[in-house]
């Protein structure tokens, strides 16, 4: 099994290359070369949906005499980007020892505004005040990037209307709810000239004149007229445009994204190698790994194997044809 995954036969033998074409506080545009599309897409998907950030998850409304309904405001609050610097030191509430939430797994913010003047008043993200202990001074602070310095508008109040509430911001990922997305958008593109014909461009008369060239078209050789189609060609240059919502720096999204992939892999490798040594019920085992009074079905899965009927949690294990080891469970505990 000795081969070098980086020493591959084609362009991949050169190893991946990253080129950055633009980088500022809101976006980073870069090109990934000599990687497979499957990896490029994994990176894109992970940046979109699996990077942990912080967002308001619980809202306790003390008084709300505004025209907007409580749940409407709660939803708007959830979508406000909060600074996620140092979120890696924050626990997920579900993993925390506390009852519901505490300073180890949440940030508390309060909002109290009353319109005392004669004109309608705007309440915006700036008015959300973080209170209590925090891991660092920026975690959970509303992101304010506009030139007025107010941040996103939450609601408006007429004279004498009042809003008073308390928010609990928690750590989460965008796979659970889009409010935890670190990126406003991720541009992903390859093969700007459509040489690989992965696209079937719609047109009225002539696709060339009707479809404007991509900004990356000049980065790659245009197709030569009359050139035969290359059936072995694979995409090799991937253009990303990562735009942040403000909670993480754009280059931080990329590095965090790769980190998330690696954590995923590390967890799986750990599980895989753990199970091998001790033969406990975690970790997959090869079919003939289990000797002794086993189920006799020539395989064992997560829950079975510890001596047939006394499987880890299938009391009625041995009575089912699968020893209580199917993914649907032996008796309704699935």
């Amino acid at each position: 099994m000795d081969y070098d995954p980086m020493a591959m036969d084609d362009a991949e033998s050169l190893g991946p290359v990253v080129k950055i074409s633009q980088a500022d506080s809101v976006r980073v545009k870069f090109e990934l070369q000599n990687a497979d599309i499957s990896f490029a897409n994994s990176l894109r998907r992970v940046m979109l949906a699996e990077i942990p950030t912080i967002a308001i998850d619980l809202v306790e409304i003390e008084s709300n005499s505004s025209v907007l309904a409580d749940e409407f405001i709660a939803h708007r609050l959830g979508l406000i980007p909060l600074n996620a610097e140092g979120v890696e030191h924050l626990l997920y509430s579900r993993d925390c020892d506390c009852e519901e939430y505490c300073e180890n797994c949440s940030v508390k913010l309060t909002l109290h505004a009353k319109c005392t003047g004669y004109e309608n008043m705007s309440v915006s993200a700036r008015d959300l005040v973080p209170v209590g202990e925090r891991i660092n001074q920026s975690l959970g602070t509303p992101v304010i990037n506009d030139k007025d310095g107010t941040g996103p508008l939450i609601l408006k109040l007429r004279p004498e209307q009042e809003i008073k509430l308390e928010c609990i911001a928690k750590k989460g990922i965008a796979k659970e709810h889009a409010k935890w997305a670190p990126s406003a958008a991720i541009g992903f593109e390859y093969d700007p000239h459509n040489k690989l014909r992965h696209l079937d461009l719609w047109y009225e008369k002539d696709p060339k004149s009707e479809w404007p060239p991509s900004e990356y078209a000049k980065w790659e050789e245009p197709p030569v007229e009359g050139e035969p189609f290359d059936f072995d060609a694979v995409p090799n240059h991937f253009y990303y445009n990562v735009e942040t919502a403000g909670n993480l720096p754009p280059d931080g999204i990329v590095t965090e994204g790769i980190k998330v992939i690696q954590q995923k892999l590390a967890g799986l490798i750990h599980e895989l190698t753990e199970g091998e040594g001790e033969g406990g019920y975690d970790g997959p085992r090869s079919p003939d790994y289990n000797s002794g009074p086993d189920t006799g079905y020539g395989y064992s899965t997560s829950y079975g194997g510890n001596g047939g009927n006394q499987s880890a949690w299938g009391g009625g294990g041995g009575t089912t044809p699968f020893g209580g080891q199917t993914s649907y469970g032996g008796g309704g505990w699935s």
Binding site: P5, D251, G283, G314, T326
Partner: protein
């Protein structure tokens, strides 16, 4: 998924777990008597407590040393496609594919068949480590490119 009639050609034991009827297990447990059921209630509580240690990979029935199917919980195309690709690049691997059997079940299956020299589990582990290595390289390259970009920007400003 409706339970299929018992007059199937293939024995149900051989079918992939996703195709085995759910009801079958329940009825079998009922036959086993009450004491078993009581014990099960107890086990059920225990299971809830231990929920944190959910297993993320398991070997599916019918697997052998060199030809195995794995089921990953809470994984999808993000890992599946990259893993499939990198495992397939291993010259010791004869076949590798992944599938998400049903979109509303957070499960991803990977099938690996290897030549004699190695086992499917080894190939899987190697695949995971290869992606890790690739991630390391891309991180390094990205950080270097970002630093470079910053330097150039500072020089022109």
């Amino acid at each position: 998924m409706a339970a299929r009639p018992d007059s199937e050609d293939i024995a149900m034991d051989d079918a992939p777990t996703s195709h085995q009827p759910e009801v079958k297990d329940d009825t079998m447990v009922d036959d086993a008597g009450e004491d078993v059921e009581e014990e099960e209630d107890y086990e059920e509580e225990e299971e809830e407590e231990e929920e944190e240690e959910v297993q993320r990979v398991k070997l599916l029935p019918g697997s052998t040393e060199t030809a195995a199917s794995f089921e990953f919980s809470n994984e999808g195309h993000t890992l599946g496609n990259a893993l499939r690709y990198v495992i397939m690049r291993n010259p010791e691997v004869e076949f590798c594919a992944y599938a998400i059997p049903h979109p509303s079940e957070a499960k991803m299956n990977v099938r690996i068949q290897t030549f004699e020299g190695t086992t499917a589990i080894e190939a899987l582990e190697k695949g995971l480590r290869d992606i890790q290595e690739l991630c390391d390289v891309v991180t390094d390259k990205f950080v270097a490119a970002a630093d470079d970009f910053e330097k150039k920007k500072a020089a022109t400003a």
